[in-house]
């Protein structure tokens, strides 16, 4: 029983980290129809900025987090203007893949050149180190914090997309861009804002998840498969779908590794295949949020 509880807690923690990093990809892929393989690279940039801000510039963890998200968004907005704008729409899928994977390589090389190939870390504040007791199970305080942050992100996004004017316009623009434009919705601005939301979430995930997915220049390529798996299982564009997918995959992976470690990643991918076999479009395809 205690073991089951332990697996559940570890699984939820792992799942929440996957969720925070992947949900931004779900936003760009589902709402903007862009296969953004550079998502991992944006997350990595966020992590590196936070690491630099905290270690070299001496900012506190919270401040470093804010700076990282803001700077990553600012740095990627010109990319939207110059590059992404040209490849919107599902007719351009191959162009999207080629462009974003190329962008990833450029960012990997740039980070490697600027920061070197060694691991970087984001020092945690006193408050987030140590462990918290959850019944019989001790989990790192940082993970508890990530679970809470994940839950907050989930609710915030749901509110933003379902309950605000912005969300309504965005969903209109996604469903029928021509009609939305005819009604006076400025789709270009809307897309810019959504792109910013996606990269901001990527940066947030990069910073919060750095304890689990350590920052090094190949982060962008190493973990993109994980993020894509979560989005595929959850259904692109679905916030609750991403959360459900991340939690399910996190728990399956944790249980598999605990019970039969020799099988490695087998359970993660087996679950992926089975779920996609049953729900080819992911858990929540067809719902807006």
């Amino acid at each position: 029983m205690e073991t089951m509880f332990g697996i559940a807690v570890d699984g939820v923690a792992y799942g929440m980290i996957l969720f925070i990093i992947s949900v931004g990809l779900s936003v760009t892929l589902g709402l903007m129809r862009v296969v953004n393989l550079a998502h991992g690279a944006f997350a990595m940039v966020g992590g590196y900025v936070a690491s630099y801000a905290a270690q070299t510039a001496g900012l506190s963890y919270g401040l470093a987090l804010v700076v990282a998200v803001a700077l990553t968004v600012l740095a990627t907005l010109p990319l939207e203007r110059l590059l992404y704008r040209r490849i919107y729409g599902s007719a351009n899928e191959l162009a999207q893949v080629l462009l974003t994977i190329g962008l990833t390589f450029v960012i990997v090389a740039g980070i490697n050149y600027l920061f070197g190939p060694t691991l970087k870390r984001i020092p945690l504040p006193e408050m987030l180190t140590g462990t918290v007791e959850l019944g019989p199970k001790a989990i790192p305080t940082h993970r508890a914090f990530v679970i809470a942050a994940g839950a907050a992100t989930l609710l915030g996004l749901w509110w933003l997309l379902e309950r605000t004017d912005f969300g309504i316009r965005l969903r209109a623009a996604v469903d029928d861009p021509a009609m939305a434009a005819a009604l006076g919705i400025r789709t270009e601005r809307l897309y810019l804002a959504t792109f910013a939301l996606g990269t901001g979430l990527a940066a947030l995930g990069g910073v919060l998840g750095a304890e689990l997915l350590p920052l090094e220049p190949y982060y962008a390529i190493r973990y993109i498969v994980l993020f894509l798996a979560v989005v595929a299982v959850g259904g692109a564009g679905s916030i609750f779908g991403s959360a459900a997918a991340a939690l399910a995959l996190g728990i399956v992976d944790t249980a598999g590794k605990y019970l039969i470690p020799n099988f490695g990643e087998f359970f993660f991918y087996a679950a992926l295949i089975l779920i996609l076999f049953r729900w080819p479009h992911g858990f929540f395809k067809g719902r807006a949020a």
Binding site: T3, T118, L119, E211, E216, T254, E265
Partner: protein, 395 residues
Amino acid sequence: MTRTLRNALLGTAFGLALAAGPAGAATIKVGVVAPFSGPFGVAGKTFREAIEVYQAQHGKTVGNDTVEFVYKDLDQANPAQSKALSQELIVKEKVSFLAGYFFTPDALAVAPLIDEANIPCVIFNAATSAITEKSPRYVRTSFTLWQNTVPLAEYMAKQGIKKAVSAVSDYGPGLDGEAAFKTTFEKHGGTVVDSIRMPLKSTDFAPFMQRIKDSGAEAVYAFLPAGPTTLAFTKAFSDTGLKAAGIKFFGPGDLTQEPDLPALGDAALGVTTSFNYSRAHDSAMNKAFVAKHKEMFGSTDTVTFSSVGAYDGVHVIYQMIKNGGGGKIDGAKAVESVKGMSWESPRGPLTIDPDSRHVTQTIYLRTVEKVDGKLENVEKEAFPKQPDYGYKVAK
């Protein structure tokens, strides 16, 4: 037809001229295959820096011959590519030595090449015991998992630890480490209650930590290849409360390699490892090595085990050239000439074992401590003259 013939004649003449040309002062080329870019780029960097430090200290010439290093980038474990690059070095660059090789599969792949071309291959890192069995032209100046693990397991048994668990990455060297640990620890009266094999690509180590905790062991022996995974593992160990629960953490020194120490931070404090080299090793020769490195590259952050692997490898190559008396190198004879060779290295005394062609060396027991505000592997005990226990044992 006549044109082909003329070309062939010209080619032959040119080839002969080349072959006859350098009679007195030759340039002897050494091909180095290692990762210089990509996730393991640090390893290649340490090789290159150590080679340059050695050449700065000892000169670029041996007798009348100039020694030149040619680098080939192999960014990850890829035996086919390793073989292709090595062949290119032999055929096009006409190297007299092959060197480097960070990963076991890459080193193994060149065995038929070095036998056919009669070229010595000096391995700077790849640590699976079985490699040197595959060709008589391999010489290795790094370490093996068996070499590091046997004295560590003996030490753990002597500390009165009865129940231990092993957790290793599921690939060649990891399995070597697991076998070495189990054999030695059980021979000295301990019990290995669980042997966990972790997928090489794991990112989340919480489930393994839970398993270690549930096994009821007093200590854990862990091996993962140096890099992002070791960092996550060591962090998870302290974060999930295992450290606080009093479980002791041992492993080969890959876990606390010097370039990772700053990122590990205080989580690494108190971790006990066994290894063949620590940057903090207290000897005049190591101080000179580290100082020269700092002078040339501005920082010593990357000085680690692979640095001395390369440094000593170059020393062996220089010695082979010296023993050959200059000019063309006969691979088999060159390897023969360094069997049993002993010398003093920045890591301590070394001898090339005549049978395994692997260095017999001192293995140090180290604990991570803060020295002048910087984390270092501080040597606590030394186990001199450790051979490669895994030679012709581990399969």
